[in-house]
């Protein structure tokens, strides 16, 4: 039998460990990654020529980042690595890519999707003003380019990334005006039993908060954002919010980094026609997988945050496990002790992830309370009011129908950033459970691509 064609999409911690596991078995996987340099997002590498140390860039995770980076570099002779390559469609058992050499299609026997995550964002009135970034974008500006998003920054939202980015900004010397957490502190206490299954990670999180407070940055819990106050000429001017005691306050800032934990980038799983299921805890649809990362589609495997938000450490485990599942399904010998060990590690991380979801809940009630004039879909400037009217007047009860009638999710991001909030608004207005609203269907291309990338013959 010819060597099977195995494609790993993504070169973050999950993709790296998957590729390494396959290479260890004597195979030569193809690793396709959208970024110029491997490492993924949380261990994103600075561009060539930048000289900050791993310790400066990744703090407590410096050793892990180094092991992913060095490990990937050591793997290069054993894999077919295609960087700067976007997988924009899957069709007829082939991955369609756009890379430095243009369009290409590559057939696969097995496809491992390690596509990572982006911020999950709850809109706030005025968040369209220039200077409002996602937490992930704020972190990329710092890690990749050594830039802060503003000269006086407020971080708003919830989730571990809120504290990580704020601490990184403070450490880099940026002016952080406040950290405003929408989740109540009590949620963290309730989540403790699950969080205690990863004491080291939990301790890192506590230490981050301590560092932020030590730097003199106010940290407020149970905050309800009211409005990003700004104007079209000068962008963000302040953030108005309601503190947990009910008082309304304004805090001056020229930039806001916001996000409410993360969401999987599962577009390729959808284009691969994988089944999705609704997860009540996180109030979102996730691709269905078995304990090892097999999707509902033969030959398609899922690992890392692209399947379920569990963090970078977990991604290394689920990446290895999914690669073992590939090997097993292709008839290669697999050590059952390895499988058992990885499965139990993955389950432990899964429990921790549930703890995080409990501690930093998605503030779904905010969607219901958004003023009508709030822009929900920033790409297409669709307001909450328009969306609600679509539900009320045109009878839209389902996400894709609301999209068709209102344009929500039809812009450059294709609903990646507004889809989950839009679904909450539709459900609240229609008075139906979120689950029945469904999810936006994904369509190619996964990211916008220029018409001119399609070269005519002879060029």
């Amino acid at each position: 039998m010819a060597e099977p064609s195995i494609i790993v999409v993504g070169a973050g911690p999950a993709g790296f460990r998957a590729a390494q596991t396959l290479a260890d078995a004597g195979l030569r996987p193809i690793v396709m990654d959208e970024a110029r340099r491997a490492g993924g997002q949380i261990y994103r590498r600075q561009p060539e020529g930048f000289t900050r140390s791993h310790q400066d860039l990744y703090g407590t995770e410096a050793n892990r980042a180094r092991s992913v980076h060095d490990g990937f570099d050591a793997l290069l002779p054993h894999i077919d690595y295609r960087s700067d390559t976007l997988v924009w469609h899957l069709s007829d058992g082939q991955a369609w890519t756009l890379g430095p050499d243009g369009h290409r299609s590559t057939p696969y026997d097995a496809l491992l999707l390690c596509t990572g995550a982006t911020d999950r964002v709850m809109p706030v009135k005025g968040w369209h003003h220039a200077g409002t970034y996602s937490l992930g974008a704020a972190q990329i500006a710092l890690k990749a380019q050594a830039c802060a998003i503003g000269s006086r920054v407020v971080f708003l939202g919830s989730g571990p990334l809120l504290y990580l980015v704020a601490a990184q900004y403070a450490k880099a010397g940026a002016n952080v005006a406040a950290v405003l957490d929408t989740s109540p502190f009590s949620a963290r206490i309730a989540a403790l039993p699950n969080l205690l299954c990863q004491p080291a990670v939990l301790w890192n999180g506590i230490a981050l908060t301590r560092d932020i407070k030590k730097a003199g940055i106010p940290v407020l819990y149970g905050v309800t954002p009211v409005e990003v106050v700004g104007n079209p000429e000068t962008g963000v001017g302040s953030l108005r919010f309601r503190a947990s005691d009910g008082t309304e306050q304004d805090i001056d800032c020229d930039a806001i980094g916001m996000g409410h934990h993360l969401r999987p980038e599962a577009q390729l799983a959808d284009l691969a026609r994988c089944d999705f299921a609704f997860e009540a805890l996180t109030r979102q649809w996730l691709p269905v997988q078995d304990s090892d990362g097999r999707s509902s589609v033969d030959g398609v495997y899922l690992a890392g945050d692209g399947a379920r938000i569990s963090g970078a450490r977990s991604a290394e485990v689920s990446g290895r496990l999914a690669a073992l599942a590939v090997l097993k399904d292709l008839g290669f010998p697999v050590d059952s002790a390895d499988l058992t060990h990885l499965r139990s590690a993955k389950a432990r991380y899964g429990r921790f992830a549930r703890g995080l979801a409990q501690a930093f809940p998605w503030p779904s009630e905010q969607a219901k309370a958004l003023p009508d004039e709030t822009i929900v879909c920033r790409c297409e400037a669709v307001t909450a009011g328009t969306l609600r009217e679509t539900v009320r007047e045109a009878g839209a009860r389902e996400a894709n129908r609301a999209k068709a009638l209102s344009r929500v999710g039809m812009g450059r991001c294709q609903g990646r950033y507004c889809g989950l909030a839009a679904a909450e608004i539709i459900a609240a207005e229609a008075g139906v459970p979120l689950e029945s609203v469904g999810r936006l269907r994904n369509a190619a291309p996964v990211k916008p691509i220029a018409i001119g990338t399609a070269r005519t013959s002879g060029e």
Partner: protein
């Protein structure tokens, strides 16, 4: 067992044909129930390009298209909602390597004039001056100033909601699983176990019509394909008419329009395979790439523009590219309107009004001879 739900007319299929028919039947005071498997206007009606064009249709289709255009022009008032109809022209262009097409367009313009379709032939410097973005391969153009385009995503649902407000029963997520004539009535059972009964049945089920046609002992060689569609990011609004390439070569036959929001909607070239039983169609990437290559022939400067999304839907086709439209040849009280072969959007309102007239009065001025179902029975 609950008793059957009765109406004067029962319609199977909630695309633009079914929804417009329901709307115009209600305006005649006739009671209607419409059954739709999914949500109204989701497949061919909602995913097509959105051309509201008369130009290029066979001459014998023009009376029906003219009836339709009159409705399009007053659609907003009629439906009480904006379906983004823009009457800013429709233009066909021909390439230099097919000079015969320019001649065909001129002949068509001469003949179409008798059907009130005024076409302006443009070429050379005049064409460059008015449409400077067209590529050097473009030789000549035929512009129909009073054609235009509209938003297909909005149009089917707009007719359905207007029909509902006028008293029609529009039943979505309600799949008809069997249809039969029992005595003087048609009896239709739906997947959720309900029974609908009416003395007249209209089949507007597009690619899914065949099952019902055959249940009544007739035949139509219906096939289905999915249009090859995409949309770009927005740019300042500047292009009024929708513009397409006139060519016998499917690969070359791309077209585009700019919506007021600024995006270019692009269609044409090779179509996609469909899966009507699963209610799905998937855009093939090779078809998208081929279309984008062709678009750069039509507009060389388009290369930097980003594509945001591709899509398709399930359209029904008949071998002669004409619909089946009119009464059944076998069963009294049974009517058909399906198989519009990728060219039904503009006709939709006119078909709705014509079917309502035919059913309501027993006759219509529109000559339906070319669309008879029994044209296939001798094959």
């Amino acid at each position: 067992m609950t008793s059957p739900i009765r109406s004067d007319i029962l319609i199977i299929g909630g695309g633009i044909m079914g929804c417009a028919s329901a709307f115009f039947l209600r305006r005649r005071g006739i009671s209607v129930n419409l059954l739709e498997t999914d949500l109204v206007g989701r497949q061919a009606s909602g995913t097509n390009f959105g051309n509201v064009r008369r130009q290029g249709r066979p001459l014998y289709q023009l009376p029906l298209a003219n009836r339709s255009i009159a409705i399009w022009r007053q659609a907003q008032a009629l439906l009480g909602t904006d379906i983004e109809y823009l009457q800013r022209g429709h233009m066909r262009v021909s390439y230099r390597n097919r000079p015969e097409i320019a001649g065909d367009m001129e002949r068509y313009a001469a003949e179409a004039a008798q059907f009130d379709l005024d076409l302006e032939m443009i070429s050379g410097n005049a064409l460059r001056a008015r449409f400077p973005f067209l590529g050097p391969e473009v030789l000549a153009a035929s512009l129909s100033p009073d054609c235009g385009h509209a938003n297909p995503r909005l149009t089917g649902p707009a007719f359905a909601r207007a029909a509902e407000r006028a008293g029609a029963g529009v039943h979505e997520m309600c799949k008809a699983v069997s249809a039969a004539k029992v005595g003087d009535d048609f009896l239709v059972t739906t997947q959720d176990g309900r029974e609908f009964r009416a003395p007249i049945l209209l089949i507007t089920a597009g690619a899914w019509a065949k099952r019902f046609v055959e249940a009544f002992g007739e035949t139509a060689p219906l096939t289905s394909r999915g249009p090859n569609m995409c949309v770009t990011e927005p740019l300042p609004y500047a292009i009024g008419p929708s513009i397409g390439v006139a060519t016998p070569e499917t690969m070359e036959s791309v077209y585009f329009r700019q919506v007021e929001r600024g995006n270019l909607v692009i269609g044409g070239s090779i179509q996609n395979p469909t899966f009507p039983d699963e209610y799905r169609v998937y855009v093939k990437p090779e078809n998208s790439i081929g279309q984008w290559q062709q678009m750069q022939r039509l507009i060389p400067a388009i290369g930097k523009l980003n594509i945001l999304r591709t899509w398709s839907g399930i359209e029904s086709y008949l071998p002669d590219h004409q619909p089946v439209l009119g009464p059944s040849a076998a069963v009294s009280g049974l009517y058909y309107a399906f198989g519009f072969s990728g060219a039904g959007f503009q006709l939709g309102p006119g078909v709705g009004e014509t079917m309502a007239e035919l059913i309501g009065t027993g006759a219509t001025d529109i000559d339906l001879t070319a669309y008879r179902i029994d044209r296939f029975s001798s094959e």
